[in-house]
Symmetry: C2
Subunit: 343 residues, 2 copies
DNA sequence: TCGAGTTCTGGGAGCGCTCCCAGAACTCGA
DNA sequence: TCGAGTTCTGGGAGCGCTCCCAGAACTCGA
């Protein structure tokens, strides 16, 4: 009997607002006001309620709040899943940490969804159906129609990484252009004058912007910016691209590679072809992922702060939900060159 | 005016169950039965309701369902965050993909939470407060008290990775012991007879189990199993461990490293010390992460299927929520040796 | 001291579903 | 043909909150 009661109590989802109200000697309206941090509650009532909440370990029922307040108290983090899953991996954990950090203390749940192109219809109707108040989208290809569709459906959205097509959707991105520019300037400052690049995919803004920065950097130095090969986010494609570049220009003496993981493949080829790094060919990567410091030789690279990206996206979205004005439509986060052995 | 209406309509979260019922010519009870796949609905009523649902793109209000049904229709994925964030990274994306795959089609939301030891109290009261029906926990240290606390609080829980202390909490893990065993056997089969290991942290079952398998493998071959160094999940610690091992046994001819990322550091030291891999020293890693195929030389390693881990955890949890019996308390997923150049 | 303004409070409707109940409509064997 | 069992249906209470409203309790200057 006693045992039963104990189990019942454990499984039963705790006290209600009514009980808090009773013990604090106020109405449940007042308890609600305290929970939601509203003004117009006397100091006495507020502290009485807070005491009882702490004592009972009361945690308001999320479903009831959402239903009564007709807002979801939740945002979605939508992660695109394309063929190559590579892209998401290094990003995801960092972004997640940032999002979570920015969300703590708010009464806001984080819903996680993966999106595949064939699920777009379901996703749009789910997300715009009032289940969430807004969405953060990451790992998109630049031309993904999802952000625009959600935006048009009236859902507040912030995209991680500049979308290619629709400038109307707010986004947060690393300043890829300046990153590429810094990489090129660094190679130039080392006295290199036959500088190539392995660019990222053309269907992502990150790839284009880094390439653009590199071009600008070579232009500043009056160097030809024609040694361009393309790779996706795999070492294999990096190896192919490096091979192509060496065939076209055996005397190249510097390469800016649009991602550390691509650089790994490039380094292998350089090594196999007998080029010393950095003596013969200086290499600069991008991301400052774990791979960079453990590459042979350790990779000089452009660092982007992925956790900060997550924080900033969340801050921007919550700002919009709170109706703040003066929010920047989009933001670029600074990158920085991390010097190691490869350049 | 027209503009206003349009915006209003867009932001308003779609039709209610009442409207579906009216258009389908049935009561909302019947609509509810169809939504929840209950029996005792005539074929005629069912298809009428389904037609209307499809036509209106009706999506039931999650908060209302949870409140009325007094179940949360949500599970939590709790990711532990410790000092070194490295651990979570390769895991997270894969596990997530598995969890999501297993969840599609069910009316079950995935809530994401990070946990730090100092947040445990809040987390326990939140999770056991009826906001979720169960929790998946990953990236835990072996002695983390969180799973046991949630389990005791009556919340269905499945842990990814065997917990060290409490055997009572269901878990899913890769078969790390057999993985370590296979690695050792492979090294033995190559004729190596002075075989070391760089083990993972002692406070995680994965580390201990892989070490145990390696010991067993050497025991089978009557080889001494005393060359053990320890590292955490960073290349730097792998480099230190490899240095230590080479100092102790300059003539070692094989190493099993408990994680690819640790092996990266070990490879650097071997190279720096003039050991050829695999001719002088054969190296076997663990994980078959992205790092393995791009290491120099490409790493022979024990593959674990992280996505399958996520799927299996979710399947186990949903099974328990559905009250199925005959569920295995815990599961071990097979690993397999992937042969590349390093051994 | 008074009254207008401000601060604080409780009551009760309602958010959109599910679940329970009672009864109607079928089935099918004797 | 009848009745017991099964299948199907609708009505209405209730899940635990928020939000609106009306009114009570304070403030403070003239």
């Amino acid at each position: 009997m006693t045992g039963m009661t104990e189990i019942d109590r454990q499984r039963r989802p705790g006290p209600r607002i009514e009980e808090v109200a009773r013990l604090a000697g106020v109405s449940k309206s007042t308890v609600s006001r305290v929970i939601n941090g509203e003004q117009y509650v006397s100091a006495k009532a507020r502290s009485a309620v807070q005491d009882v909440i702490a004592r009972l370990r009361y945690s308001p029922n999320h479903a009831a709040r959402s239903l009564a307040g007709s807002r979801a108290n939740a945002i979605a983090l939508v992660v695109s899943e394309h063929g190559s899953h590579v892209l998401g991996d290094p990003f995801l954990a960092g972004v997640l940490r940032g999002v979570h950090a920015e969300l703590t203390g708010r009464h806001m749940q984080l819903l996680l969804m993966l999106s595949r192109p064939e699920d777009h219809d379901d996703l749009v109707s789910y997300l715009s159906g009032g289940h969430v108040e807004g969405a953060l989208l990451i790992s998109l290809h630049g031309d993904d129609p999802l952000p625009a569709r959600l935006h048009e459906a009236g859902l507040p959205v912030v995209v991680g990484g500049r979308p290619l097509s629709n400038a109307t959707v707010p986004f947060v991105d690393s300043d890829n252009f300046t990153g590429g520019l810094d990489a090129a300037r660094h190679l130039v400052s080392l006295g290199r004058n036959k500088i190539a690049t392995i660019a990222g995919p053309k269907d992502m803004a990150a790839g284009l912007d880094r390439l653009g920065g590199w071009r600008r950097g070579l232009g500043e130095a009056k160097l030809a910016a024609n040694l361009v090969a393309e790779a996706d986010f795999t070492p294999e494609s990096g190896a192919r691209a490096m091979t192509e570049l060496l065939d076209r220009a055996p005397d190249l003496d510097g390469v800016f590679v649009a991602a550390d993981i691509i650089a790994l493949g490039a380094l292998q080829v350089l090594h196999a072809r007998g080029r010393r790094v950095p003596q013969d060919v200086a290499v600069v990567g991008f991301d400052d992922s774990l791979l960079a410091s453990t590459a042979t030789p350790p990779l000089t690279t452009v660092r982007q702060d992925v956790e900060q990206l997550g924080r900033t996206m969340t801050w921007r979205l919550l700002g919009e939900l709170a109706g703040e004005d003066g929010l920047p439509p989009s933001l670029l986060l600074p990158t920085s060159l991390v010097r190691r052995a490869s350049a």
